[in-house]
Symmetry: C2
Subunit: 504 residues, 2 copies
């Protein structure tokens, strides 16, 4: 059973905190559902496959008339005592030096009551029955079971590994050492493969126990001897223990995860993204299945990140006073837009999934869509030529046509677009094509596009794509270290036109 | 059949060019496999489910002794003629004004040969058989088939929609108008739902036909009348046509997609990422199934982007001459590292999947891991105290202990870390926690962390996370507009210590 944990350590990186939280709550809800029948003393076969929660609840309500009253009463008492114990524990934890042994008291009391009241015989309650003690002789694990448990084992392995690593990193930080995830993974793998020959459960880390041990000063595994004693000698005493008591303990221990429902509105206010990830993961885990819930959670978290890069913040920049700093004109006040130049900033990697956004937002920001502009210019040109031709025919003057065309082309109030690439970490091949297209399109309507603040990996990509022409001959004309340099250059290049325009 | 195309338009955004290329090649390979049996005249039941390609090829080789020689010869002739036709077409396309009707010639010739040679009767070749003409009366589509075709319909719908949108955008650009993807989607949805009552195939756009029509000047749908004529009157003539001829035409038409295998090395040199995406998508499509191939391709492309943001470029910055510009010291030469300050730049959004990378690369770049530093300091402190205590006991001097401790703490050659956030577009809640932890950790070892070049959305997130203390009281001490300002501030704050250190 405890096999196949030789997995890649990188998976745990993709488990975000809200996703794990949602997964824990969803899984708790599933466990609660599975245990609920014991509370009522119902005998329902366990549902396998998708939608366990829904199917099980339907079964429970369909069989609710078969409820064992004795089990129900015992459950109610146990839950009350356990919740009360936990509440007292939480409220007075500063004064209590040791944790309250509520579970021990409940199990002991219930066992005694059941044994001496002979509840099993009188009321037909289900009891734990025979619990074997001692060790079972070692045995090769049954390989025929492996295909059946393989699917369930994957989320178990991922989750237990992620928990172990995050726990060990927590304590590593506290006690001042470092943890190598892959080494840990190897250790957990061994901890699961060797015991599989001895009828063991899978190994994992438990936060609560580790905390207690750390705070009481444990440093090695010798403390496990206590559990050994229980295993060897005390188990038979629990023969008469009702199953519902164990179910109560499990359900009450899930309180923490289930209580997270209350935090959802606060989470929503703090970060909508986190709240949505939590809800989606929780719903998928509870409603479909635990494994698919994990998958949905991981995928959805990643899609959220992708979505953010797809809809990045874009801005037109303006100059701050007389400095050479340029900032977002929507966010800061008193910025002066540079004359006859547009400075556009795109804050995300530029790749296939957001190149359309890039182009659209750029067109919108500068107020011009080059190919539409081209079409309307061509039409205007045709019209103007027609008019001027008729005029020219009337006047006998043949040069007038060109002048009108020149006038039509002089509509834009800027001659250069500066792309501030400081917040573009990388560019993929589709992004490169978008850049190339952009340059060409704007060149057709007489607008120069230059780049500022590119990082070196971006420059490499652009050079490979021959954006600066052969041998990078246009590089000094197109690539500037700062927005300010680019603006100075742009205004030097076009002084005649701006003066010409000021006359118009 | 042609149902369920009311899908969200956003899906097409996730189809990257190398992914679509790989998918087309993989799908072509699948079609080639399915058609291969007709070339040999084999009668093999079509394999359903995963691994069609592998299973079909195994079946073909298992049944290869049953090859129909007549079909094989016909196929060889047809393929030779078709390939030759295509090659001539490509080589002399400048001189040829109309496309060569090779397919028409082959179909015509093969039909005549088959009809007059009576190949079906003599050699048992498979023929098209009866082809119905005219229109079939309208009929409600069979809803009972829907669950069986639903899964196949999803990739069909996505791909056909993506092709249509990208085609229409191409021609929109050429002819100067814009396309609204959602409106297009609605149109395609109608084009598929209404004909489903008339026994039609699904509607989609075909690049080749659109190109031909566009270049010959078509603008409306009237040209479709030609096809209507074929449907109504010419179909019965093809009764004797061998199936292998049709298979040949299909296979030869896949040449373009299959020839992309040759481009893989060039692709690999241009962009490894694109080549890997292409290979993965192609393999998944060919080896597993067309639907899963699409899913794998989309997921893998996204994972590549995520991976890039997980392993971003990080750098320590140095000053360029006397300017106030700071750049990557590894990439540019002759930069001066600022004295006693480290400037660190991280070029990616900071979120749950890369916060560990962020912390690790930062620790490595500045050469200090705060919590390890704390531990070693505590140890050194203890040791120093012990020594000084013994010394003090020997000398009768009690102040010496503190002096030694102070000496131990003065190991680092910098007092401030400046995080250049200009390339961090956004921060999620986990990233925020990482920032907070960072500040606290470095504060413990006496290093100040300040931020420079944050964009406004980043500042919002940091304010919400109370990184600047209550009421943002520390904002002016921690947030600077440029790296240069931050360095100036840091050196003003710590002048005494640096002078003190220069003495030491």
């Amino acid at each position: 059973m405890g096999f196949k944990v030789f997995r890649l350590g990188f998976v745990s990186v993709y488990l975000s905190a809200p996703m794990l939280d949602g997964f824990a709550t969803g899984a708790s809800f599933t466990i609660l559902t599975v245990q609920a029948k014991y509370l009522l003393g119902l005998k329902i076969p366990r549902h396998q496959g998708y939608g366990t929660v829904v199917v099980t609840w339907i079964n429970i309500f369909a069989n609710i008339h078969k409820t064992n009253v004795c089990d129900l009463i015992t459950s109610a008492i146990c839950i009350t005592v356990l919740v009360a114990g936990k509440e007292i524990q939480e409220r007075y934890k500063d004064r209590l030096k040791i944790p309250l042994p509520t579970e021990l008291v409940v199990v002991g009391g219930a066992t005694l009551a059941s044994h001496f009241g002979n509840l099993n015989h009188h009321y037909g309650t289900s009891v734990s029955g025979h619990i074997p003690t001692g060790f079972i002789p070692p045995q090769v694990p049954s390989f025929s079971l492996m295909p059946r448990v393989a699917l369930d084992a994957i989320p178990l392995a991922v989750i237990s590994f992620a928990f172990t690593v995050s726990l060990s990193e927590m304590f590593a930080k506290k006690n001042g050492y470092t943890v190598r995830p892959n080494q840990e993974m190897f250790a957990i793998g061994c901890c699961n493969i060797i015991p599989s020959f001895f009828h063991c459960f899978t190994t994992s880390a438990a936060l609560a126990k580790t905390m207690v041990k750390d705070s009481t000063g444990c440093q090695t595994q010798v403390t496990a001897l206590v559990i050994l004693l229980v295993l060897l000698f005390f188990a038979p005493f629990f023969h008469a223990l009702q199953k519902c008591v164990l179910a109560c303990i499990i359900i009450v221990s899930l309180r923490g995860a289930l209580r997270k429902f209350k935090d959802v509105p606060a989470k929503w206010r703090a970060s909508r993204n986190d709240a949505v990830v939590w809800l989606i993961t929780m719903s998928a885990t509870a409603l479909i299945s635990v494994e698919l819930g994990l998958l949905v959670g991981i995928s959805f978290s990643l899609i959220c990140i992708i979505y953010k890069t797809q809809n990045p913040r874009v801005s037109l920049l303006g100059r701050a006073g007389d400095s050479d700093l340029y900032e977002d004109m929507e966010e800061y006040q008193n910025l002066v837009p540079p004359s006859r130049v547009r400075v556009f900033r795109f804050q995300a990697p530029l790749y296939y999934a957001n190149k359309d956004t890039f182009l659209k937002t750029l067109y919108k920001a500068v107020g011009v869509t080059p190919f539409l502009e081209m079409t309307s210019r061509r039409k205007a040109e045709k019209k103007a030529k027609k008019i001027s031709m008729t005029q020219a025919q009337a006047n006998g003057d043949t040069n007038n046509g060109d002048v009108v065309v020149a006038l039509v082309q002089r509509q834009l109030d800027f001659h250069t677009i500066i792309l501030d690439c400081s917040a573009i970490p990388f560019l993929d091949s589709t992004g490169l094509v978008a850049f190339q297209g952009l340059l060409k399109e704007f060149a057709e309507i007489g607008v120069r596009v230059v780049l500022a603040c590119c990082n070196t990996s971006l420059i490499d990509t652009l050079q490979k794509g021959q954006l600066f022409g052969k041998g990078d001959k246009d590089m000094s004309k197109m690539l500037f270290h700062t927005v300010h340099h680019a603006i100075l250059y742009a205004n030097i290049q076009q002084p005649d036109k701006s003066s010409e325009d000021s006359v118009l």
